[in-house]
């Protein structure tokens, strides 16, 4: 059994960590956070491209390195740890995966090399307001190669040139009335930025007014393709969450050693020690669940839907748990804009609210458990 990353992958992790420590210190995150006019750190994104990170899991014929998903997981963890303010997840975990899952050869050839090189930024636009996207709440329509409608709070919506959108291709409430569309955002798309919980990862409403689009995958397969895309993205995002959780825990531990109250280090009080120990436990469990997700993703295992939902719920819980208690450990300092603790808190909640809520993913997880047990 080798339920771990191999030596090359660990080397890649070290490289990515050193690179991001040098290129993505918290002041880089704040530069995006504090400036409404900047959608992402373009300089950093260009360097991530140069490092080959965007192409890690994309086949060589489409301009990638063709390494694999395990390498991409390793990179995702480091991006999460550094809170990288770039559209990596939207472009690579969502748009590129959508193309790899459902794209025709021509679509892949047209767009994947551009996503890898950073010439294009992609994203996924699914919901139009409250609730899990369904035929009942999806009005955006694809007709005669044009899309019309509005999608709500799309991650990196204002930066995207390529939008994978859930659209209606026939009327009615049946799941079969929905499909995926590949929308070229060069004309007919207006982005309206929203102020969101984590401005270092901008989001925008997208209004489509006759934008050119084509089907991605078969007509009527929108929801089933969406499931597949989200399962893959959930594993990759779980690594991002894991990286953030680990760093938030480290910050809390460091502060607990440094800060004195009542004549001793606050880390010598059990209320603090035990809180940090519990953060460690949730982070370790999330790590193990993410690794299992990585295994399922990289081997395209039948267990992927269960592994992905488990990694997603575990990763979300661990990051939220670690980031909120990191603030608690910091006391009043933790509530200032100046101390970095809130950057992790913001990101943990941003990640918890994009890609589907905990409630949705727990429900998916339970559905997989039902199936698993029936099969057994």
């Amino acid at each position: 059994m080798e339920f771990d990353f191999n030596e090359d992958q660990k080397m890649l992790r070290d490289t990515a960590r050193k690179f991001l420590e040098a290129e993505c210190a918290p002041d880089k995150v704040r530069a995006i956070l504090d400036d409404d006019s900047k959608t992402y750190d373009e300089g950093l994104y260009a360097k991530l491209v140069e490092m080959g990170f965007t192409g890690a899991a994309i086949p060589e014929e489409f301009g990638g390195l063709g390494l694999g998903y395990l390498e991409l997981c390793v990179i995702a963890e480091e991006l999460g740890r550094a809170l990288a303010p770039v559209p990596f997840a939207s472009s690579i975990f969502l748009a590129a995966e959508a193309l790899l899952i459902a794209g025709s050869d021509a679509q892949k050839a047209a767009w994947l090399p551009k996503l890898v090189s950073g010439e294009a930024i992609g994203t996924l636009a699914m919901s139009e307001g409250n609730g899990v996207p369904s035929a009942r709440n999806t009005d955006t329509r694809l007709e005669g190669g044009k899309v019309n409608g509005v999608k709500a709070v799309v991650p990196d919506g204002a930066s995207a040139n390529l939008i994978v959108a859930l659209v209606r291709t026939s009327s009615g409430d049946s799941a079969k009335s929905l499909s995926l569309a590949l929308v070229d955002a060069s004309s007919g798309v207006t982005a309206t930025s929203q102020h969101t919980v984590d401005p270092s990862r901008k989001m925008a409403d997208l209004s489509f007014d006759g934008a050119s689009a084509e089907l991605l995958g078969g007509e009527g397969e929108g929801l089933s393709l969406l499931e597949q895309i989200l399962d893959r993205a959930a594993v990759l995002t779980a690594f991002e969450q894991l990286g953030g959780a680990t760093r938030a825990l480290e910050m809390g531990v460091d502060y607990a050693k440094e800060r004195f109250a009542f004549g001793r280090q606050i880390g010598s009080y059990q209320a603090i020690k035990h809180m940090l120990a519990d953060m460690y436990v949730s982070q370790e469990l999330a790590r193990s669940n993410a690794y299992y997700g990585a295994w399922a993703l990289s081997t395209d295992a039948a267990e992927l839907p269960l592994a992905a939902a488990t990694a997603r719920v575990s990763g979300t819980q661990a990051f939220q748990h670690c980031s909120k208690n990191n603030i608690q450990t910091h006391g009043g300092m933790g509530f200032t804009w100046e101390v970095d603790a809130h950057l992790y808190y913001r990101r943990s909640n941003h990640l918890a609210l994009t890609l589907g809520s905990l409630r949705q993913w727990k429900d998916k997880l339970a559905t997989q458990l039902e199936k698993q047990n029936q099969a057994a």
């Binding site: 080798e2 050693k257 001793r264 299992y292 339970a366």
Partner: protein, 413 residues
Amino acid sequence: MNFDDTPEEAKFRAEVRAWIDANAPKHLDEMLSTSTMGRSNIDPEAFRAESKAWQKKKQEAGWACMQWPTEFGGRGATPIERVIWSQEEGHYGILSGIFLIGQGMCGPTMMGFATKEQNEELLPRLASGEDIWCQMFSEPSAGSDLAGLRTRAEKDGDEWVINGQKIWTSGAHYCDWGILLTRTDPTVAKHKGLTMFFVDMKSPGIEVRPIKQVNGNSDFNEVFFTDLRVSDAQRLGDVGQGWIVALTTLMNERLAIGGGMATGFPELLSFVQGLDFDGTPAIKDGAVRERLADWHVLSAGLKHTSSRMISALSKGETPGPEASIGKLVAGSLMQEISLYAAELQEQTGAIIDTETAPFGGRFQAMMLRSPATRIEGGTDEILRNIIAERVLGLPADVRVDKDVAFKDVPKGA
């Protein structure tokens, strides 16, 4: 990243599987597959006889005490071979429960500190299940704070005279030998005045009184020593070195307990799958689904954490104190699962008889046993301290008893 055996591991697994298939006590399958946390449908003495028979058979074929050297009755196997063995042994491993303390903790302590002759005489009998050993550490006034123990050993010629009391000693009522931690010098700081012995449990001067537990069983005991005489040759380690010796035992305890801990989750899932609420499947209920999802995350997380540890072993690395998360998570998980399952059973959840309780009373057995998991072998609070101090490097608790002679340390009732 893979779950595959190396070729050597696969070969070893095939050998283990074939032997178990040919030799396992299959007549016990039903009892073992429904036994839950020390509650099974055969009485403890018959259970012990089955345990001893299986142990003897394993030892004769070279499958006992996998990691011990062969001259002491073991196999000299690698840690990963031991893991493979226990994966393949499956529920027959439940039969080895009564040997766990002896083989997992007392044996390694003996190997570290007893003479070669003593080990050659005693350890093969421990390996074959002929003898069972216990660990006499905790006392009424010393559990988490083990080094606060008071049982006195005083030198008399080349013997020691021991007076005092141990408590919570698992298995003392049927054990043949035990290791015993005593205080030999109360005038020095508490960790410095301790000395370890091994003793014959049938010696005059030892009285064992079983304690009735919350779950109605009597697995642990009080042990009283009245002028118990022990030869100096049965001392383990130097006089005053007992704490160091005890740490060897406790380190092995963590390794013995660490692995795949039961959580009750598979039982819960299978119970819920067969349940309905007035005609609607329980598994369609939102509240039930949320609990299942949350608890699956914990139980899967533990399972995959243990796979990470096994991978480290397979590479010849030693898993660190991370292993402490297993018992910490599994103990309260099982407790919560058992309470919730009983809740889903409504009034019938109150029944504890195996025959009449829903689901064979397995959740009630968990409900009444799981509190112990959170206490034995290091309480939840002590485990959090260990994680905080040894894994995260946080400062130790403030100690008022540090560098104070034991006799002057403040003591409660």
